[in-house]
Every structure is written in structure tokens, then in C-alpha cells.
């Protein structure tokens, strides 16, 4: 699956790196939130798989078991995935990156932002984290920065709204 370029476990060295961008990381507390989220689905899959096995449904049990294993792998990858998130406010745009196996780097010009959204999930709220989502006129932009401390998220939102206002362009 993974080719020669990724053989040396160096997820950081193999990343696509933009020149002169210092990434700002998201809060490490996000690891807890994500692990809980993934673990719940893993346990549900396990329970369902066992139940199906108990009732003699072979194939559903197998599918659910595979799902369970995948969820466990996801849980194990959470710390690395959380470390992979990064964002930075450049002079005229916001850059955001995410992903381990499927890496994605997005640049959103401030003038193109249509709205900034802050979401808090139940677990994230317990540890005081927020997600910040940017919406442009393009549906495929898809920038959602998770794991921001509540104050940071609010500040960032106000900052982005100011920037968007001062650099407003048409559609």
C-alpha cells in the first residue's frame, strides 16, 4: 500500500510542505475528543458484531468485525491525525492543512469568505474546544478547523470577519 517514499515512518518529512508557512497547531485536547468519538463507534461495532455472531448471522458479523478493526485503527491514528492539522493566517489568505493518508492543503482568500461558523460538539464542549468553519461561494472549499480553544476560536472568527470585510470582493 504505502510506497517507498513513506517507508521511513516519517509522516512529517513526507508531507507536502508549502514554502515559508509556519503552521499553527490545534489544541492537543482534540486527541481526547476524537478518541472518545472513534472509540464509541468502535465499541458499538464490536457489540453489534458479537450480537450478530451470537444470532448466527455470519456475514453481517464479519462485516461489523471488519468495521470494528478499522475503527480501532482510526483510534490509534488519532494522535497523528490531530498533529497533522494546521492553519495559518497569511497576508491575504488563510491556509489550512489536514490529513495523513489523504493530505489536503487549502488556501482561502479573505475576500472570498461568505461566513464564519463556530460549532461545539458535546464532548468538545466538555474540554472547552470549538470547531471553526469557513464558507465561501464554492461548496468544495470545505475548511473546518477543529480543536480551537474557545477564546481562540472567537478571536479568530472576529479577526477573519474583519479581514473579510476589509478585503471584500465580488463573487
Amino acid at each position: 500500500m504505502s510506497g517507498p517514499a513513506t517507508s521511513d515512518n516519517g509522516q512529517v518529512s513526507a508531507r507536502i510542505e508549502l514554502p515559508d508557512v509556519e503552521w499553527r497547531k490545534v489544541s492537543p485536547k482534540l486527541i481526547i475528543v476524537d478518541i472518545i468519538g472513534s472509540a464509541v463507534s468502535a465499541l458499538l461495532a464490536l457489540a453489534a458484531s458479537l450480537a450478530a455472531f451470537f444470532f448466527g448471522l455470519g456475514i453481517p458479523a464479519l462485516v461489523l468485525a471488519v468495521f470494528f478493526v478499522m475503527s480501532v485503527v482510526t483510534v490509534l491514528l488519532v494522535p497523528r491525525r490531530v498533529r497533522a492539522y494546521g492553519y495559518q493566517l497569511r497576508e491575504d489568505d488563510l491556509v489550512f492543512r489536514r490529513g495523513l493518508l489523504f493530505q489536503r492543503v487549502v488556501s482561502v482568500p479573505y475576500g472570498r469568505m461568505q461566513l464564519v461558523d463556530i460549532n461545539r460538539g458535546p464532548i468538545a464542549r466538555l474540554v472547552g474546544l470549538s470547531d471553526l468553519k469557513l464558507v465561501t461561494a464554492a461548496a468544495s472549499t470545505g475548511v473546518a478547523i477543529p480543536g480551537l480553544l474557545e477564546d481562540d476560536a472567537n478571536q479568530l472568527r472576529d479577526r477573519l470577519v474583519d479581514l473579510a470585510e476589509s478585503r471584500r470582493v465580488g463573487l
Partner: protein, 542 residues
């Protein structure tokens, strides 16, 4: 009774002001009584910032079919009644006769009452349905009990469409639809007098363009061009037979048309026909060999569906024309129901030029665009407004691109378009590295991009050729992605995000360093061109 302006009742809803429609600011002229009242077709007459009403036949045209149906039922029932009473009389069934006679008067009263309520309802809904065009917005308000009001800001207009469905067209009426960005956010004026709709569109576009005043000469010429009314019928016939594109609107040399034969064969050579042929190719031998004729019956619905799809597509694209006007590109089509839309400059977010495999011997192409508004016109039987050129040869493609992206086709990008349509490798396009063969065994040489200071051109596909053009001033954001396989091959994908539509501007299998460079360049230039862009006020003189 459906309200065309499905506004959100919430904050925008205007409460009723006193009694029904006793707004003192009402001018009482309705739009275009008859074919073309001189008052309504005078430039600026409807765009004067005052409230106006729609064509008086609006309720009939909108609820027309329902009304006729109700009338038909009434007549049929009445006839039944008469027949019944006759037979009752002859066969001597006194009880039935008595019941009949006893219920006759209340029955009639109820019928007349219902008709009256309908007529009153239609009348009120017409009275309360008003629009106005100011220097800033186009605004519509309607509704008897639940008032809705909808505004479209002029500088956010994405296009103005005039649709003439068959029945309204016969009666000399047209629907004007102002598209603004967003899902189902269009302002519809249905119906206006046919000539009044054309004039109103010109006025709205002029106001939206930011031009200070209408060219005086043109205005007076328009005023004179309203002929004295010969007879209403004659005028109606003239209007119906008039060329779809008003010759005064656009210079004839800028007009691109499609020959019906070409259109016919292009549709014949497209997907559904192929499926049909495949079905026949397998189905007929099957029936002959096995003798199971019932299989044929199973194929009938599919056959009917595909035929109607093809016929629809054909009639909708008939009489297609695209022309450049001072206020943007004007795309018109339709034989019986016509539709023509003006897209102001700078409203096109992405363009792709594609060639389906079967069109290659003929050298035909089609052009689609992404726009910020999604017109509801498609639901009313008119083809989606994203197809800009249903079929055309290279020459047509260049001319259409020159119309929809005039600024682009004057720059070096024009040459890039020419080589980009058919070329593959070694022609200025930055392509995929050789190691990306695995991902695109056939097209890795053709796969490539050119980045100019006005546009990003992406080409792909050896079998289904595609050339995507994104004006940089319209870019919303850019992304750079890499999958595990991509990492192994050291290739990455760049995706230029535009408003949603049929066109996706993505190029994969680029060398990772090239991709990073492209990403940085695009994100930088998108900002500068976006800031310098003033096309939303295209007529404003600095």
C-alpha cells in the same frame, strides 16, 4: 394556487398595510395591456422605482390550466345533469326529478359562489402582486394573507432570463426572471407583456451596469420603434413569428447559431442513443434465438423514455443562438417555448470545452459553464442554463469563448485554448511526469495546465477530451491534495474551487513540486485579480 415567489415568511415578510392593496403609492397602470402599450414599452417606464403590477392576464396564465380544467368539469357535469333530467323526464322517474329540481338552485348557487371566490382570489392575488426596480434592487411582493417580499440587489445579479412558454407566448406574455447568487433565490416576474419584458430587462441591466444614464439616442429610437397598433391580432402574430433574437440587440457577426441538422446528429451520437443501440443489438438476437417476444414489451418503457428525452433535448436546443451585447452574453433557444438569458460580464465562474468520443470524427465540441445562480428555469421545461454551446465546431468554440470570456481571449490564453483542445504534450502545457503513467495510462501526456495572468487552463482526457478554463478573478479558493498512492509516486492534485456547477477544475498527477508551485501561484493571483476585478459594475466609467 402556487405563489411563484416562495419567500421565507420570516424577517422579510411585509405585514399587510391596512386593507388589501390600498397603498397610496400605487400607480394603477398594469403592465402591457394588450401586446405593447406604449407606456410600458418606453425605456425606464417600469424601472422608475415605483410599484407596478404584472400583466392582467397573469392569473389566467399561471392558473390557466387549472381554471380550464375546472370549467371543463363544470360543463361536463352540467351536461350530465341536463341529460339526466331529460332521461328522467322520459322514463318517468319522479323521485329523481324531484330531487333534481330540489337541489338545482342550491347547486347552482354553490357553483357560482365557488367561481366568484376563485375570480376574486385571482383578482386579489394579481392586485397584491407587485414589483419595482430602483437604482439598488429589484423587489417583488405578493400574497393575499401571507405577504412575501423578495429583493435582488442589482450589483449581485447573475443573469436575467426571459422565458416565453408556449401558451403565454401565444397571448403575448413573458416571464422575466432575475437570477441572483444562491439556491432558489431568483426573483420572478410572471407575467409581463412580451415587449415590456424586453424593455425592462434592458433597463435593469443598464441600472446594474452602473452606467450613469441611458444613451439618449438609443432611448429615443426605442421609443419610436413602438409601432402604432395595427390590430391586436396582427401584432400578436408578428410577435410570434419575430426572430428569436432581436436584430437591433446584437451585432450580427457576433451571433453563433447551430444548424438543425448538426444538432440532430450531435444528439443522435450521444449517450442515450448508444444505450438504445446496445439494447437493440443484444435484444433482437435474443428474441430471435429464444423466441421470447415478451422481452420486447419490457423494453418499451425504456424506449419511450429515451425517445422523449432525445426529442425534448432536440426541441429545446432548436433555434439556439448566442450573441454578445453591451450588457453581456445573450443565450437564447427554443422553438415553441423560448427562453433567452442575458449573462452580464464577469458572471461566468468556470468553463469547460468537452468532446464526447463519438463527436470526434465530426470535430464537434460542447461548452458548459458554472454560474453562481441556479435557475429554476429547468423545472419549467427549459434546458438548464449551464449549457452554453450544445454543439459546435472549433470555430464556433472560439467565437463563443470570445463572447463569454472576452478579456481572456484577447490575451495569450487564446493560443493556449487553441492548442489545449486537441494537443497532447510538448506545446506549452505543463504536464504530468512520466512516472504518472500508472495513473493515466493513456492521457498522461495530454494531462496538463497553463497558468496565465488571467486564467488557469486545465486539459485532460485522451478519449473524452476536456479543456477547463477558470478565470482567476472568480476563484473562491484552491486546494492541494495528495493521496497515499500519490505520495508514493510523488504526484499531487490541485483543485481550483469555483461555485458549483457541471464544471470541476481539478488536475491530478502533477509532479509534487510543480503542484506546490501552481498552488502558490494560483492562490496569490486569485487574490490580486479578484481585487482588481470591477466587472460587477461593468458599465461604470472610471
Amino acid at each position: 394556487m402556487t405563489e411563484p415567489v416562495a419567500g421565507e415568511g420570516g424577517p422579510e415578510a411585509i405585514p399587510r398595510e391596512g386593507g388589501p392593496g390600498h397603498d397610496p403609492s400605487h400607480p394603477s397602470d398594469a403592465v402591457g395591456v394588450g401586446a405593447g402599450t406604449a407606456a410600458a414599452t418606453r425605456p425606464g417606464a417600469l424601472a422608475d422605482g415605483e410599484w407596478h403590477r404584472l400583466h392582467p392576464a397573469t392569473p389566467l396564465l399561471r392558473g390557466g390550466i387549472a381554471l380550464i380544467a375546472i370549467g371543463g368539469i363544470l360543463v361536463a357535469n352540467l351536461r350530465d345533469r341536463i341529460l339526466e333530467s331529460f332521461t328522467g323526464f322520459h322514463e318517468g322517474d319522479p323521485l329523481d326529478l324531484v330531487i333534481d329540481n330540489g337541489w338545482l338552485i342550491p347547486g347552482l348557487a354553490i357553483t357560482i359562489g365557488i367561481v366568484l371566490v376563485f375570480v376574486l382570489g385571482f383578482y386579489l392575488s394579481w392586485r397584491m402582486h407587485e414589483f419595482r426596480v430602483t437604482d439598488e434592487v429589484v423587489e417583488v411582493r405578493s400574497g393575499i394573507l401571507f405577504r412575501t417580499s423578495r429583493k435582488a440587489r442589482l450589483d449581485r445579479i447573475q443573469g436575467i432570463n426571459i422565458v416565453r412558454a408556449l401558451v403565454p407566448r401565444i397571448f403575448g406574455a413573458a416571464r422575466l426572471e432575475v437570477s441572483v447568487a444562491g439556491q432558489d433565490a431568483n426573483v420572478r416576474l410572471d407575467y409581463l407583456g412580451s415587449a415590456a419584458a424586453d424593455v425592462l430587462r434592458r433597463d435593469v441591466l443598464r441600472l446594474a451596469s452602473g452606467a450613469k444614464a441611458a444613451p439618449a439616442a438609443a432611448a429615443s429610437a426605442d421609443g419610436d420603434s413602438v409601432q402604432p397598433r395595427a390590430s391586436a391580432l396582427e401584432q400578436r402574430v408578428d410577435e410570434f413569428l419575430a426572430p428569436e433574437l432581436d436584430p437591433t440587440e446584437a451585432a450580427p457577426e457576433s451571433v453563433v447559431r447551430i444548424h438543425p441538422a448538426r444538432l440532430f446528429f450531435s444528439i443522435l451520437l450521444s449517450g442515450p442513443t448508444l444505450i438504445l443501440l446496445a439494447l437493440l443489438a443484444f435484444g433482437i438476437p435474443w428474441v430471435v434465438i429464444t423466441g421470447d417476444a415478451y422481452l420486447l414489451f419490457g423494453a418499451v418503457p425504456a424506449l419511450i423514455g429515451m425517445t422523449s428525452f432525445t426529442v425534448n433535448r432536440f426541441t429545446k436546443s432548436l433555434r439556439y443562438s448566442i450573441a454578445g451585447t453591451p450588457n453581456g452574453v445573450r443565450i437564447g433557444f427554443g422553438l415553441l417555448s423560448t427562453s433567452n438569458e442575458t449573462l452580464p460580464p464577469g458572471r461566468i465562474h468556470a468553463v469547460d470545452v468537452t468532446q464526447p468520443l463519438l463527436w470526434r470524427p465530426a470535430g464537434w465540441w460542447q461548452i458548459r459553464i458554472n454560474r453562481a445562480s441556479s435557475s429554476s428555469a429547468s423545472s419549467s421545461g427549459v434546458a438548464a442554463a449551464t449549457m452554453v454551446l450544445p454543439v459546435g465546431d472549433r470555430n464556433d468554440v472560439e467565437r463563443v469563448l470570445g463572447l463569454i470570456l472576452p478579456a481572456l481571449m484577447e490575451t495569450a490564453a487564446a493560443d493556449a485554448v487553441r492548442v489545449g483542445m486537441t494537443g497532447s504534450g510538448g506545446d506549452g502545457y505543463v504536464g504530468s511526469p512520466r512516472r504518472a503513467r500508472v495513473l493515466h495510462p493513456l492521457s498522461w501526456k495530454r494531462n496538463g495546465f497553463i497558468f496565465t495572468d488571467t486564467a488557469l487552463l486545465l486539459r485532460a482526457g485522451r478519449i473524452w477530451r476536456t479543456l477547463t478554463i477558470v478565470p482567476e478573478a472568480r476563484l473562491q479558493s484552491v486546494s492541494l491534495t495528495q493521496s497515499t498512492v500519490g505520495r508514493a509516486l510523488r504526484v499531487a492534485t490541485v483543485h481550483a474551487h469555483t461555485v458549483s456547477g457541471p464544471v470541476t477544475a481539478r488536475i491530478g498527477a502533477l509532479d509534487v513540486d510543480t503542484a506546490i508551485e501552481l498552488f502558490s501561484d494560483v492562490s496569490r493571483v486569485a487574490i490580486t485579480t479578484g481585487r482588481a476585478d470591477t466587472s460587477y459594475r461593468w458599465g461604470a466609467t472610471p
